[in-house]
C-alpha cells in the first residue's frame, strides 16, 4: 500500500520528529510512504482567523499536491479536520474523501490497534477538540495506546475540555488561553503520568510550553512518537 504523508507545516518546521516517527511507523506496518514536496500548509490558520481569500491558494496547492493518491495521512486532527470539514466549502471534494488522520488510518484502513510499539511509561491522553468533535476519532487513539507494550494509560480528568490553544486564539486571547492550558496541565499532573500524549502538535506546543515554563516533570508527546517507539529503538 502506498500513502502520501501530509506532514503539516507545524510538524515540518517545529516537530520534524513527529513526521519522522509517522514515516517509521507506517513503513514498519508495510506501507510505502511518499512525501509530495509541493505541500506546505493546509490553510487552517488563515481560515480560522477570517482570511478566506488568503486561504484559497493554500487549499488549491494542497489539493494539487496530493492528486492521484488513494490515501493521504495527516498526523494532526485539526489539519485533517480542516481538509475534511472545510475544503468542500472551497469546492474541493476529492481530497477530503481520501484524507485520514493518522489514528483513523491505522485503525480503520490498516485495521490494526497493536502496532508493535514499546513504551514503558505512564501516559495520559488529551483528545484535541477537532479530532474529537469534527473527525469523531472516539476511542481510536486510546485503543492504540492501550495496545502499546509497557504503556500504562491513565485517565485524564476533564479530558474533553479544550486545552486553550485554538490557533490565533492563543495570542489574541492569551490570558484566557493560558488559563485554560494551566487547568489542563493541572489535570494532567494529577494523573502522575510521565507523558501527556495528544494527536495534534499545535495543541501540544501550547500545553508543552506551559509544562516547560512551570518546570514540570511531565512532557508532552505526539501519539506518533509513542507508536513509533520499539524495544529495539525506544524513544525514551
Amino acid at each position: 500500500m502506498r500513502v502520501a504523508l501530509f506532514v503539516t507545516c507545524v510538524n515540518d518546521a517545529l516537530y520534524p520528529a513527529t513526521g519522522i516517527a509517522t514515516v517509521r511507523l507506517l513503513e514498519r506496518l508495510g506501507v510505502v510512504v511518499d512525501f509530495p514536496a509541493a505541500q506546505t500548509c493546509c490553510g487552517q490558520p488563515q481560515f480560522n482567523t477570517g482570511y478566506r481569500r488568503e486561504t484559497v491558494p493554500l487549499v488549491r496547492r494542497t489539493a494539487r499536491a496530493f492528486e492521484g493518491y488513494e490515501y493521504v495521512v495527516i498526523p494532526s486532527g485539526s489539519c485533517a479536520a480542516m481538509v475534511r470539514e472545510h475544503y468542500p466549502k472551497f469546492g474541493e471534494t476529492a481530497l477530503p474523501a481520501r484524507t485520514y488522520e493518522l489514528t483513523e488510518f491505522l485503525v480503520d484502513v490498516l485495521g490494526v490497534t497493536d502496532v508493535g510499539a514499546y513504551f514503558p511509561h505512564t501516559v495520559t491522553y488529551h483528545p484535541s477538540c477537532h479530532g474529537l468533535r469534527s473527525l469523531g476519532l472516539g476511542e481510536r487513539p486510546r485503543r492504540l495506546l492501550e495496545a502499546v507494550k509497557g504503556l500504562e494509560l491513565r485517565e485524564l480528568p476533564g479530558a474533553e475540555e479544550c486545552c486553550g490553544f485554538g490557533g490565533t486564539f492563543a495570542v489574541k486571547n492569551s490570558d484566557v488561553s493560558a488559563a485554560m492550558g494551566q487547568d489542563k496541565v493541572r489535570g494532567a499532573a494529577s494523573t502522575g503520568a510521565d507523558v501527556l500524549c495528544g494527536a495534534d502538535n499545535s495543541c501540544l506546543m501550547h500545553i508543552g510550553g506551559i509544562l516547560r515554563r512551570q518546570d514540570a516533570p511531565q512532557r508532552a508527546l505526539h501519539i506518533a512518537d509513542i507508536l513509533a517507539s520499539t524495544e529495539e529503538e525506544p524513544l525514551l
Binding site: 506532514v7 507545516c9 510538524n11 515540518d12 518546521a13 517545529l14 516537530y15 520534524p16 520528529a17 513526521g19 519522522i20 514515516v23 510512504v33 512525501f35 514536496a37 509541493a38 505541500q39 506546505t40 500548509c41 488563515q46 481560515f47 480560522n48 482567523t49 477570517g50 482570511y51 478566506r52 488568503e54 491558494p57 493554500l58 496547492r61 477538540c129 477537532h130 468533535r133 469534527s134 474533553e160 475540555e161 479544550c162 486553550g164 490553544f165 485554538g166 490557533g167 486564539f169 492563543a170 489574541k172 486571547n173 492569551s174 490570558d175 484566557v176 488561553s177 493560558a178 488559563a179 485554560m180 492550558g181 494551566q182 506546543m205 508543552g208 510550553g209 506551559i210 516547560r212 515554563r213
Partner: protein, 472 residues
C-alpha cells in the same frame, strides 16, 4: 442594546481581570460544571434527543423563513383575544412604547418577570428616566439589581456571586428598595430565599403593572408562553391589572404541536430538569381573571438584519437555554461580563455583533472570543453551528479592515506567499534552524505567547530536510 454596554473594552481586555480573579473563577467553575453534568444526565434520559434537536432546528428554520406570515397571524390572534400589538423597530422605540403605556395607567412602579429582551433594550434604565421604578422579581435578577450589578449568565444572572456576597447585598440594599432583610440573616440558601420572598411579596401585592418577555409565542392562537422556576413569573403575569410583554420577533412558533418539542428540550438544556416548575400560558385577556389589559410589543432591534445573513441567521434559532455557556471553557474563565452584552458566552459572541453591528471595540473582538473547540455546538438543542458563525463573522471583521487588522493582514499575506512557494519555505526553515542557538527565549513582540508559555525549541533540521537526506 442597552446603553450600559456602550464603550465596553474589547473581550481580551475585559477577560483579563476575570481570569485573575480567584473567587470569580472558583464560583464560575463550580456553577458551570454542576449544571453541565446535570444537563448531560437529563439529556441522556431521552432516547430521541437527536431527533428532538433536529425537529427544534427545523421548526425554527421554517418559522424564520416565513416570519412575516407567522407574525401577522400572531398579531391577528392576539388582537382577536383582546390584546393590543405594537411593533418596535429598535430599542428606543420599544422603550418609548412601554414607557407611554405605563404612564397611561398613572402608575410609577412595575414588577418584572425575568426577560432577556427587556435587558437587551435597557428598559429599566429607560423607565427610570421617565420616573418609573421597575422591580426585578426573579431571585438572581433581584441580586443583580440590588447589587447595582450586571447579569453575567442568561439563566443564572448572578452566577458570579456566591452566598456570602448575596447575603451582604441583601443586608446592605434591600432596605432602600423596600422591605429590609431580616436581622441576623445568614448565608444559608433557605434564609436567603425567605428574605427575597418577603421582600418581593410586598411588590407583587402592590403592583398594578407587570412587564414580561416570553419564551415562545404561538401564532395560531396568539398565546404567549413563559418557562420559569420560582413562581415569581406567575405572580407578575396574573396579579397586575395591566400586562406588557416585550418579545423578540424570532420567538414565534406556528402552532401548539411545535411547542411540544421545546417543552422537552428547553428545561433539560437549561436547568437540567425534565420539566420546569412553572409554565405560564396566556392568550389576550379574560373577563374573570388575570390582567384586564394586555399589550404585546414585538421587537426587531437588529433581528431582521440578522435574518438577511444566510450563515448568521441560525443564531435566531436560539431559545436562550444557556447550555452553550455552561460547557464553554472560555466563558468559564472569562465570565459573562467580558462579553459586554446581556447575551454572554458562545451564543452572545455570535448574537451581539449581529444585533448591534460589528462596529464597537467589543463587537469586533467577540467573534474571536472562542478557541473553536465546538463544545457549544454539540450541546445546542437547536443545533446552532456556533463555530461556523464565528468563522463567518471573523471574515466580516477582516473584510471591513479596521484597527489592529491591517498589520495582521500584511503578516498573513507575507506568510501566504512563503507557503505558496515550497522552496522559499525550505529556505526559511533552514535559516531558522541554522541560527537557532542565537534566538532569544522570549523574543520581543512574542509577549502574548511567552508571558505564560515557552516557545517551542527549533529543531536542527526540518522534516523536509530529513526527508531529502534520508528518503530520496
Amino acid at each position: 442594546m442597552s446603553g450600559t454596554y456602550l464603550g465596553m473594552p474589547s473581550f481580551p481586555k475585559a477577560a483579563k481581570d476575570a481570569v485573575h480573579n480567584v473567587t470569580l473563577r472558583a464560583n464560575l467553575r463550580h456553577a458551570t460544571h454542576t449544571i453541565r453534568d446535570k444537563r448531560a444526565k437529563a439529556v441522556a434520559e431521552l432516547e430521541d434527543w437527536a431527533l428532538l434537536r433536529e425537529a427544534g432546528k427545523q421548526i425554527k428554520d421554517h418559522t424564520l423563513r416565513h416570519l412575516d406570515r407567522y407574525l401577522e397571524q400572531l398579531e391577528s390572534a392576539v388582537t382577536a383575544a383582546g390584546g393590543t400589538v405594537h411593533w418596535a423597530a429598535d430599542a428606543e422605540e420599544a422603550n418609548r412604547i412601554v414607557a407611554d403605556l405605563v404612564k397611561a395607567t398613572g402608575e410609577s412602579e412595575v414588577v418584572k418577570v425575568k426577560s432577556m429582551a427587556t435587558q437587551e433594550i435597557g428598559l429599566n434604565e429607560a423607565l427610570k428616566a421617565e420616573g418609573i421604578s421597575a422591580y426585578e422579581t426573579d431571585l438572581a435578577e433581584l441580586i443583580v439589581q440590588l447589587g447595582d450589578d450586571r447579569p453575567s449568565h442568561i439563566l443564572v444572572p448572578a452566577i458570579h456571586r456566591n452566598r456570602a456576597e448575596i447575603r451582604d447585598i441583601f443586608e446592605r440594599k434591600m432596605g432602600s428598595w423596600g422591605r429590609p432583610a431580616p436581622d441576623g440573616l445568614s448565608d444559608s440558601p433557605a434564609e436567603l430565599a425567605e428574605a427575597a420572598r418577603l421582600h418581593l411579596r410586598e411588590k407583587f401585592l402592590r403592583a398594578k403593572v407587570g412587564i414580561s418577555g416570553a419564551n415562545f409565542m404561538v401564532a395560531e392562537t396568539g398565546t404567549l408562553v413563559v418557562f420559569e422556576s420560582e413562581g415569581n413569573g406567575r405572580m407578575c403575569l396574573t396579579l397586575p391589572e395591566t400586562l406588557i410583554s416585550v418579545v423578540g420577533i424570532e420567538k414565534v412558533v406556528p402552532g401548539w404541536r411545535d411547542l411540544e418539542v421545546f417543552l422537552q428540550t428547553l428545561p433539560r438544556s437549561s436547568t437540567a430538569e425534565r420539566m420546569n416548575p412553572y409554565t405560564s400560558m396566556w392568550t389576550g385577556t379574560a373577563d374573570a381573571d388575570g390582567p384586564r389589559t394586555f399589550h404585546l410589543v414585538l421587537l426587531d432591534n437588529g433581528r431582521t438584519g440578522t435574518l438577511a445573513d444566510e450563515v448568521g441567521r441560525q443564531a435566531l434559532r436560539c431559545i436562550r437555554c444557556s447550555a452553550c455557556l455552561n460547557v464553554c471553557p472560555v466563558y468559564e474563565r472569562a465570565g459573562g461580563h467580558a462579553y459586554g452584552s446581556v447575551y454572554p458566552g458562545p451564543i452572545g459572541a455570535i448574537l451581539s455583533p449581529q444585533l448591534r453591528g460589528i462596529q464597537s471595540e467589543i463587537d469586533v473582538s467577540l467573534p474571536y472570543a472562542s478557541s473553536l473547540c465546538g463544545a457549544c455546538y454539540e450541546v445546542c438543542p437547536v443545533a446552532i453551528d456556533i463555530p461556523e458563525v464565528l468563522l463567518h463573522l471573523r471574515e466580516k471583521v477582516v473584510d471591513q479592515g479596521g484597527k489592529g487588522h491591517r498589520l495582521e493582514k500584511t503578516a498573513i499575506k507575507a506568510a501566504g506567499w512563503i507557503l505558496d512557494h515550497p522552496a522559499a519555505l525550505a529556505a526559511v526553515e533552514k535559516t531558522a534552524s541554522g541560527t537557532r542557538g542565537l534566538h532569544p527565549g522570549r523574543p520581543p513582540g512574542a509577549g502574548a505567547w511567552t508571558a505564560d508559555r515557552e516557545l517551542p525549541e527549533l529543531p536542527a533540521q526540518s522534516f523536509r530536510d530529513w526527508w531529502k537526506k534520508n528518503r530520496t
